[in-house]
């Protein structure tokens, strides 16, 4: 039996790209959320947490509608940039970023909130700019949360199924990630291949979570 590595590679590519984007967007967002006094903060927090409770198919359904070239957003995007998000890798990335957002934002936001307020004050007194304070005082002091948030977001993207199925379908090399491949192989009664993909995901997920817990234990004095 020839094993097709493509779905696994695609899964990693999706998880890596998603995590990179999430990190760049999610960390500043978490910092803003930790410090803002805006009145609609609870509403924003609820929106961020939605993917935790929403069936993935609900999110996938609305994204599919939004991405469809028949609708105004998809149509506009197609006309202006030539990008089609439905049934494409780019669409999967956007959906995954939304779907894994709380896994990164929650621990990082909590860590920012737990930092003693005088640390920022002390750095401002010492003449440091907001950027210097962010990169040299705040980020280094929430390293454990950054690590566990990033790893969890990565692991969560690996295991995504519902959203991918809704908006990505099952196109080899484009949207056929490992979780979809398992479903597909089982439908074709090809249990050996399904077992291969499932086994890899199973072991990987375990080791990633193990890593998170080891890191958390180290971070505690």
């Amino acid at each position: 039996m020839v094993l097709d590595w493509q779905p696994l590679l695609l899964t990693f590519k999706l998880a890596s790209v998603t995590t990179a984007i999430l990190f760049c967007m999610g960390v500043p967002f978490a910092w803003w959320l930790a410090n803002t006094r805006i009145r609609i903060k609870p509403a924003i927090e609820a929106l961020v947490a939605m993917p935790l409770v929403l069936p993935p198919s609900v999110l996938g359904f609305y994204l599919l509608l939004a991405f469809s070239p028949e609708r105004w957003f998809g149509h506009w995007l197609d006309r202006v940039t030539g990008i089609r998000l439905a049934f494409s890798f780019e669409g999967l990335v956007i959906a995954s970023v939304i779907f894994s957002f709380p896994f990164l934002v929650h621990p990082v936001q909590a860590a920012f909130q737990n930092l003693p307020r005088p640390l920022t004050d002390a750095a401002r007194i010492l003449g440091k700019s907001d950027w210097q304070i962010f990169t040299r005082v705040l980020l280094p002091n929430i390293k454990p949360a950054l690590l566990s948030g990033t790893i969890l977001a990565f692991a969560h993207t690996l295991g995504e199924f519902g959203v991918v199925l809704m908006i990505g379908g099952n196109l080899p090399h484009e949207t056929r990630v490992a979780s979809i491949a398992i479903y597909d192989e089982v439908e074709a009664l090809n249990y050996a291949a399904a077992n291969f993909y499932a086994g890899v995901l199973f072991a990987l997920s375990f080791f990633i979570l193990l890593l998170v817990y080891i890191l958390n234990r180290k971070a505690q004095p």
């Binding site: 005088p118 002390a122 401002r124 007194i125 040299r136």
Partner: protein, 299 residues
């Protein structure tokens, strides 16, 4: 010369009250803000540093205007270049002792200054340790060293020694005074400890519920302003020497070191480091008129 007029609405335990204080600090002087917690001392200090913004008032340092409520001037703390020592020290946990000091340097500063400070504050041995591994007294020294590393124009100390026990406290008060004299930096100290104010400050403002109720030298303020025929000075014994029939005590009174005589019985009860009250009859003092500008009270 620093002048601050600060007005700001505060929330206290018994409802809202107005912080409304006017402070003047001559250059090189140590002034204390004294009062119970919640009186608005720390807020006044934070307003001077630029960490809090007054609703109204005016804060000037030399010829710089840091805050002016009517002209909508409010400089950021980064620009004001003060030194601020926080009650809980606020050392950066991710940096070593040395890293904390180096972080305080500005671009144009000479890095060799760090070596000097580490030596001066006896921190050379600890320089590669992280703040979490230090004792309270050590953290306090690091925090003070970091504050001095930024070479501030004005030093603001928010109950710098309140978390320490009496012995270390007394030792660090000496150190603080020594360093303040060494650098000659204008200092405002927040404290609710009468002894500390006596020892460190040349003038004190008593703040109650946001208002200054008394001001003057610590002796004037704490003796309740009652006039009597005696001088009273609280001080600390620095040395006891036996003379022919008497003893000579060297006593640190506020910022001044004075030598007084003591009888054998008095000296026998004392050892260096003791806090004492010097009382002297004021029936025959020399009175000299000061020329304008010489008066320590009107600078």
């Amino acid at each position: 010369m620093m002048h601050a007029l600060i007005q700001k609405q505060l929330q206290g335990a018994e409802g809202a009250f107005m912080l409304d204080v006017s402070l003047e600090v001559a250059s090189g002087e140590i002034v204390a803000l004294f009062g119970a917690s919640g009186a608005g001392k720390t807020t006044a200090l934070r307003c001077i540093a630029g960490l809090d913004v007054p609703e109204n008032g005016r804060i000037t340092f030399g010829d710089e205007c840091w805050f002016d409520g009517t002209k909508h001037v409010c400089q950021s703390p980064q620009v004001r270049h003060v030194g601020y020592m926080f009650q809980d020290y606020a050392l950066f946990p991710n940096m070593t002792v040395r890293g904390n000091l180096e972080f305080a340097l500005r671009k144009s500063d000479d890095p060799r200054y760090i070596e000097e400070l580490l030596q001066l504050m006896q921190l050379a041995e600890l320089q590669h340790r992280k703040p979490d591994t230090l004792s309270g007294g050590q953290k306090q020294r690091v925090a003070l060293a970091r504050t001095l590393a930024s070479q501030p124009k004005l030093l603001l100390l928010d109950e710098p020694l309140s978390a320490l026990d009496a012995a270390i406290r007394s030792q660090l008060q000496d150190e603080l005074l020594r360093l303040q004299r060494h650098f000659g930096v204008t200092t405002i100290l927040v404290s609710h400890d009468v002894g500390e104010v006596y020892k460190l400050a040349s003038r004190v403002y008593v703040i109650e519920s946001g208002r200054i109720t008394r001001q003057g030298s610590p002796t004037e303020v704490f003796s309740q302003g009652k006039t009597n025929g005696k001088f009273r000075f609280a001080g600390e014994v620095l040395a006891i020497e036996a003379m022919d029939v008497m003893f000579a005590l060297t006593v640190l009174v506020g910022n001044q070191i004075v030598r007084v005589t003591a009888t054998h019985e008095e000296a026998a009860q004392l050892k260096t480091g003791d806090d004492v009250m010097l009382v002297s009859k004021a029936f025959n003092p020399m009175v000299m008129r000061l020329e304008a500008g010489e008066s320590p009270l009107k600078q």
